[in-house]
Subunit: 364 residues, 2 copies
């Protein structure tokens, strides 16, 4: 068999390997860019739907196994690059941000900010570079959650003389908050359009730099900031946080409808305060009812990304200014949020797989 | 002793009786309007700070005892009237409403609407005539809580041809809600001033009739509706609902400051989701931290009106459209809310006692 024919066979074999998250063969995903044989060594070029960090290793192993079936002895080098996802116009400050996620809830008080903060830290713990923009005007909570109360947003001037804010870095997350730029009482007297202006300042005049993920922790409801965000920022999608009870679900439905109207994909639902475990007897109870999140996910044709407990530690950690996933007593929370982060990333990839048409195949 | 001297002695005796809630002697309160002796019968005329329903009986007994010390055999007739509380200009629709209370929270999701609904029903269970105006635009919950989803607000034309809405009557409470007049999606696109307009429609063009209490269930935060309410309606005061954690307390602080600025008295704080009792082992836990409400009440120089549990029944009852205090399984909730209602009424009286200067004493 000549080299070209062998390479083609290898290519066909690798094309049948399935993306571990998407469940689709790499061939169908047009992910096998090229297979080359050079000096007895197999070079495999993959182009995968981002973010690939979490699946790269698993997928590489599967590819190595597929190649070993034909060439058990050959050394294999695998080159992975991320497929470029086309996106709309982006403010320059976000040009190096790969994935932008809105964290929203129809209703306040469901723990959205706590979930956003811990999710951000969990992504950072997994090795990603992460930013968190706390856009909640009336109740900015990132300063409290990250132990940054009363800290001003430091700034520098760029080469054009523009003032650029430098986000705080805590627990591996770059944090900027309306709480850093607005006086507490000021929020109460600002009307919608003005608020949206402040919000865009926080988007555009902060030095976000290179980020894998930027999370926008949005205020509850469906107001000016939500619309401004959807218009000005190429969001990957929105993660909706809810509690299981019917009253909260109704608000989430409305929120989902709003994002649908402005063409922002709902990546999934996080059910918070799903259950409470008695610290004495271990009995699990459902203070806000059961499986509301599941029903809602079904109804909205999206996925339930995770169920988080009503846990005193989440509360205590927040008040102490340490995200629960960084808290010494937070091992169980770390595990839960690591899994949640995995699921969110999986849904980002699924979303890209659905929406980003694969590029035309090019033979090298 | 002549009749006049005896009446004067009786008057002095009764003047030493203390108002059971205010702890102040009736004399200091200028509450003893007159004591007359007519045909061997003692007629005692009291003018008390409203609402008197809850203390009338207790106070009457105390007065009878005081009179019996001087005239053990004489029949006693006690006439009680409520002192008129001066108040600002009032929309005609509220002219027959005695006490108007705002139920507010800085933050959403603290269970404010559930507390407001059950408090309203508890007041009605105690014999008061009660109305509830659900002014929460983005998340109107009274329709769900009272099992009135999808119900329109019926209306009639008054003698001037104006359209007047007729509130729904459920569980002894007259209920009107933004949810009855606004389409769900409509809320998302209405700006502040327009919202305030809708709100005033609900205040002014609803046939509230005679009410002891009208509760305004406000949206979270400190927006247009709050300011409009404070300007247009002579509120008795505001009851703030919070959960015990620091993040919620910060929002409540801001809310209290806003009401202070517009001269609305904070009557007290209700701490919701204070504790959770394991249904299996009875262990009491504090998922949101402990005694936050107490600390906040102290800080704001107001009182903690009550602590309500995080109870699955509250949730279940809400979703079923039956307020927990009316639920067959809600005996403990009925007791808790009856006590809360008592405390709210006590604080209303204390507030009037502080602010309403007693009228000049008139001798009949």
């Amino acid at each position: 068999m000549d080299t070209a024919a062998l390479a083609d066979q290898l290519r066909q074999r690798v094309a049948q390997v399935r993306d571990p998250e998407l469940g689709v063969p790499l061939g169908e995903l047009n992910a096998v860019h090229a297979v080359r044989l050079r000096d007895g060594c197999v070079e495999l070029y993959l182009e995968l739907i981002p973010p690939v960090r979490w699946i790269a290793q698993q997928l590489e192993q599967a590819c190595r196994l597929a190649i070993a079936e034909l060439l058990p002895e050959a050394p294999v080098e695998i080159y992975v690059r991320e497929r470029e996802i086309p996106r709309g116009s982006t403010p320059p400050s976000l040009s190096e941000v790969k994935h932008m996620l809105a964290i929203a809830s129809g209703k306040g008080g469901v723990g959205k900010s706590t979930v956003a903060a811990n999710l951000a830290v969990a992504l950072a713990q997994a090795g990603a570079t992460v930013g968190l923009l706390d856009a909640d005007i009336y109740g900015p909570s990132a300063p409290t959650l990250f132990g940054l109360q009363g800290m001003p947003l430091h700034a520098r001037k760029d080469e054009h003389g523009r003032v650029i804010g430098i986000p705080h870095q805590r627990y591996g997350v770059r944090v900027a908050s309306m709480g850093f730029v607005l006086q507490r009482d000021q929020a109460a007297i600002l009307r919608g359009p003005l608020l949206a202006g402040y919000f865009m300042t926080l988007v555009e005049q902060v030095d976000w730099g290179q980020l894998d993920f930027l999370l926008f922790d949005l205020p509850p409801g469906t107001g000016d900031i939500h619309l401004t965000l959807a218009q000005k920022v190429p969001l990957t999608g929105v993660v909706l946080v809810t509690t299981p009870q019917e009253l909260a679900l109704a608000d989430v439905r409305r929120s989902a409808a709003m994002f649908h109207r402005v063409n922002v994909a709902v990546l999934g639902i996080v059910e918070n305060m799903s259950y409470f475990t008695c610290s004495r007897c271990g009995h699990r109870e459902f203070p806000f009812g059961e499986s509301g999140g599941e029903r809602l996910a079904e109804e909205l044709q999206t996925v339930l990304l995770g169920q988080l407990p009503l846990d005193p530690l989440l509360q205590r950690a927040s008040d102490e200014g340490i995200p629960a996933v960084e808290h010494p007593a937070g091992a169980h929370m770390r595990a839960l949020f690591a899994e949640l982060a995995r699921c969110v990333v999986r849904e980002i990839r699924r979303h890209y797989a659905r929406t980003a048409a694969p590029p035309p195949e090019i033979q090298l």
